[in-house]
């Protein structure tokens, strides 16, 4: 049997069998498994309708699903979202590009920097701003820290939904180490507004390198510990294996992306496929699993966390010198420390804060891989400092929509496991 220590070894799968020797299930097999796991029902049975959420603890926010139940089996589900709608897109039309960055923080508040990053990438594409190498590396580092904190939170809450309280507190304790790094780096734990057009807000502080290395040395050990608790746990296996099968075709049809898609055997990761920031310069593997069930989504996220630690270490090792914010007076803010000492920086700051960046007419769409899936940002500009239309294509919006396709024919108790496994955050979903 594989021990917890060698399970993250990419060359060998369960039982030490090399990966290329394991036959992966074909889509037909997966569909057959899915059909076998679902219970056929007489439609004429008397149905009970149950409103699950918006205050149900397993709904990870204010998601509501109207379920039609026959006994414990879900006959149909109807998702209702919008309880957290704040009109971000409307607000964006009335703010300059710099002022939009704090708004994007509030989209997916679990991984704020990833949202900043997506918006900045799109805005830079529109403005033609080149991010300096150091800025790109710090972005990559912060984005991967985000992924770590997001996945640890996901792990804690989704396992809590399956009935363990202690594991949740363990995960939250370890997530705090990552949040401490964020606090050191940006000054805030959750909504950091750290991205800037043309780079990032601050350079790495003194001592960050040392502390960050301590955390990324420590976390893989904790991940092995998590796996010792969860991976061979009979209750978890019973509740996760062959539950909520969602094949790659289903994922495409419902625009389900990220770890759920990769758990269905598709090696799609925009960090590799449409690279941005410093991802082309670091080495990492795309985590792929093949059974498309709740258990494999767990495995994908566990491997992704290890890959994140690897990326962060490479970023720290190869961090280039130079500016971390583009010296582009037309589009980026001036360095804060120079504003009161340097007249050019002061003029730039005044101009950017009061007038905003002057952006050419046009439209762009940029899609990046955030911890929950693929996030696209569409910006249409008519010139000037404010966008004419911004659209955030956020992953949770579509993951929340796909819930009926995921749960119909499953048991109510399994819906909780399935809903947790696709990772929906309602700030991201309701915009």
């Amino acid at each position: 049997m594989a021990t917890a220590h060698d399970t993250h070894d990419a060359a060998s799968g369960p039982g030490g069998v090399p990966v290329h020797m394991i036959a992966h299930p074909t889509p037909e097999e997966l569909r057959a498994r899915k059909a076998a796991g679902r219970i056929r029902l007489e439609r004429n049975a008397e149905l009970m309708s149950l409103s699950m959420g918006p205050q149900h603890p397993s709904m990870h926010g204010v998601y509501r699903a109207e379920l039609e139940l026959d006994g414990e089996v879900i006959v149909s589900a109807r998702p209702e979202i919008g309880n957290l709608h704040r009109g971000v897109e409307k607000l964006c039309e009335h703010r300059t590009y710099h002022q939009i960055i704090p708004l994007t923080d509030r989209l997916d508040y679990i991984s704020s920097f990833a949202m900043n990053h997506g918006f900045c990438e799109a805005a830079e594409k529109l403005m033609g701003v080149e991010v300096p190498a150091r800025g790109r590396y710090i972005r990559t580092l912060a984005h991967e820290l985000c992924r770590l904190s997001n996945h640890i939170l996901w792990l804690g809450t989704s396992i809590m939904d399956l009935g363990t309280q202690t594991f949740f507190t363990i995960c939250f304790r370890d997530r705090e180490y990552v949040l401490d790094l964020f606090e050191m780096l940006t000054g805030a734990r959750l909504t950091h507004s750290f991205g800037r057009i043309g780079g990032v807000a601050k350079d790495l502080p003194d001592g960050f390198d040392h502390r960050c290395r301590k955390v990324i040395d420590f976390l893989p050990k904790r991940l092995a510990e998590y796996e010792r608790i969860i991976k061979q746990n009979r209750i978890f296996i019973k509740r996760a294996k062959n539950i909520g099968i969602f094949t790659s075709d289903d994922c495409y049809a419902w625009r389900v992306t990220g770890p759920t898609l990769r758990a269905a055997g598709v090696a799609r990761d925009l960090r590799k496929d449409e690279p941005y920031a410093a991802y082309p310069e670091v080495e990492f593997d795309v985590a792929v699993e093949y059974n498309a069930d709740v258990y494999d989504r767990f495995l994908v996220r566990m491997r992704e966390m290890r890959e994140s630690c690897k990326i962060i270490r490479q970023c720290l090792d190869n961090l280039p010198d130079g500016p971390f914010l583009a010296p582009d007076a037309g589009h980026s803010l001036a360095l804060k420390k120079n504003v009161l000492h340097d007249s050019a920086a002061m003029i730039q700051n005044f101009y950017q804060v009061f007038q905003g960046p002057q952006v050419p007419k046009g439209e762009v769409y940029r899609c990046i891989e955030v911890p929950k899936g693929e996030m696209g940002v569409y910006i249409r500009s008519e010139g000037g400092a404010k966008p004419a239309r911004v659209r955030f294509t956020t992953p949770s919006f579509y993951h929340g929509q796909a819930v009926p396709a995921l749960v119909e024919g499953e048991m109510v108790a399994d819906m909780i496991a399935i809903f947790a496994s696709v990772d929906v955050v309602l700030g991201d979903c309701d915009k």
């Binding site: 979202i81 594409k125 696209g376 569409y378 659209r391 579509y398």
Partner: protein
């Protein structure tokens, strides 16, 4: 950021042009993104071709949303989609312009993920999607009045956003 296209996308565009020719009203490449503008009556035909033709094979609808351009009074609304092909790894944008009160056929039959997108576009801009299985308000409350993402809708104030107490208990 170059305007050179990938070979697969070149092939896809050639196929699309061969099939539709002059019915594609406009075709631009901006910031490396390909945009095709079609007439609303060709909307369904072009999108289903985009999905089914093997050279295009757009198997995922990345996003569908509306836009309002009041400076174009004859066709102030736009519906924009972004398509992704996992098979070829390319992307394309398809747009159409609509007059006030215009409608489009739904594409939920091609990509079920368009369901929420079309509901959002309807509630935010008032663009009707014919044949949509469940065209209700999505993000705002059921009794919300007005189309909030239109440019003439105010950012602040109570117009259209008031809570209707007379509907209490009925919705």
């Amino acid at each position: 950021m170059s305007d050179s296209l990938s070979p697969s996308l070149e092939k896809a565009l050639a196929r699309l042009n061969k099939r539709f020719g002059a019915r594609l009203l406009e075709q631009t490449v901006l910031y490396g993104d390909v945009t095709c503008v079609v007439a609303p009556e060709d909307w369904m035909r072009v999108l289903s071709f985009c999905k089914s033709a093997p050279q295009l094979a757009f198997d995922q609808l990345d996003s569908l949303f509306g836009d309002h351009l009041p400076e174009r009074p004859e066709a102030p609304f736009e519906v924009v989609t972004h398509l992704v092909s996992h098979k070829h790894g390319h992307r394309m944008r398809v747009k159409t312009s609509l007059a006030e009160g215009g409608s489009l056929p739904t594409v939920t039959g091609l990509w079920p993920s368009a369901g929420f997108d079309e509901r959002e576009t309807w509630e935010m801009f008032g663009i009707v999607f014919e044949g949509h299985p469940d065209l209700r308000r999505l993000l705002t409350t059921e009794d919300f009045e007005g189309f909030p993402l239109r440019k003439d809708f105010p950012l602040q104030g109570t117009i259209g956003g008031r809570i209707r107490t007379d509907l209490r208990g009925k919705v």
